[in-house]
């Protein structure tokens, strides 16, 4: 799979670049495990039910635009 090869290449390049800054990079499996946990934790917040205040705010903003100088 060429896509995976590219990713592997990216990882090697990344590891090499970090070597140049004197930093170590993690083994790919550990990095992948952290990535999965990060995405899971983040997705949990993203999928939380939204409070009404944001759609209300956007509607208010849109309405105030129309009131003040509707040039359409």
């Amino acid at each position: 799979m060429p896509g995976n090869e590219n990713k592997e290449m990216d990882k090697r390049v990344e590891a090499h670049e970090l070597e140049n800054t004197g930093e170590q990079s993690l083994p790919p499996e550990i990095q992948a495990s952290i990535g999965r946990q990060l995405k899971r934790a983040y997705a949990e917040i993203v999928s939380e039910p939204l409070p009404d205040r944001f759609s209300k705010l956007l509607n208010d903003l849109a309405r105030s635009n129309k009131k003040s100088g509707d040039d359409s």
């Binding site: 990344e14 930093e23 499996e29 495990s33 952290i34 990535g35 946990q37 983040y42 956007l58 359409s72």
Partner: protein, 167 residues
């Protein structure tokens, strides 16, 4: 049919709200403050919509607005709070030296022990999928700095979560 450009802008902003909330939460660590930040970012984005370059990345643009709102809020607080021992400036809890292995620590708790610049870097690159170049641009730092922040964040999480034992 008349198409109203601001109504699609409104829809595009609305679609970003869940991600803005998650990003704000990871910056501030406090759900209420995070939602206030999202509100502020939405208002600013709306007011500055004429300066948004059509066709460029709206998510990156609004994330940057939110980030700037967070930083200016933090600067204000820093000036108000007497920060004698520097704990505030060092982030919520930089207790990395307490223990190499905190087995009971869940991911979110471990994440919150990271310094703010590393949390931000890891979210932008690792969770939101921005490229290092985009993330560096959004944070006004060099690409190498961004890579290094992401790497240090991963290193610390690996230690805190003892990922090697989970595998």
């Amino acid at each position: 049919m008349i198409t109203n450009p601001s109504s699609t802008f409104q829809q595009d902003l609305a679609a970003l709200v869940p991600n803005l909330r998650a990003f704000a939460r990871s910056l501030s660590g406090n759900a209420d403050k995070a939602d206030d930040l999202v509100q502020e970012a939405l208002v600013k984005a709306w007011q500055n919509q004429s300066s948004f370059a059509e066709g460029s990345n709206l998510k990156a643009w609004v994330f940057t607005i939110l980030r700037n709102a967070f930083l200016s809020e933090r600067r204000k607080l820093k000036n108000e709070v007497e920060d004698a021992d520097g704990t505030y400036a060092n982030g919520v809890a930089t207790n990395g030296n307490q223990s190499d292995h905190m087995d009971m620590l869940d991911f979110s708790a471990a994440f919150q022990t990271l310094p703010p610049d590393q949390r931000e870097a890891l979210i932008l690159v690792g969770a939101e999928g921005f490229s290092y170049e985009e993330a560096a641009l959004m944070c006004g730092c060099a690409v190498g700095t961004m890579k290094s922040r992401v790497n240090r964040a991963r290193q610390k999480l690996a230690t805190l979560l003892s990922v090697d034992e989970v595998l």
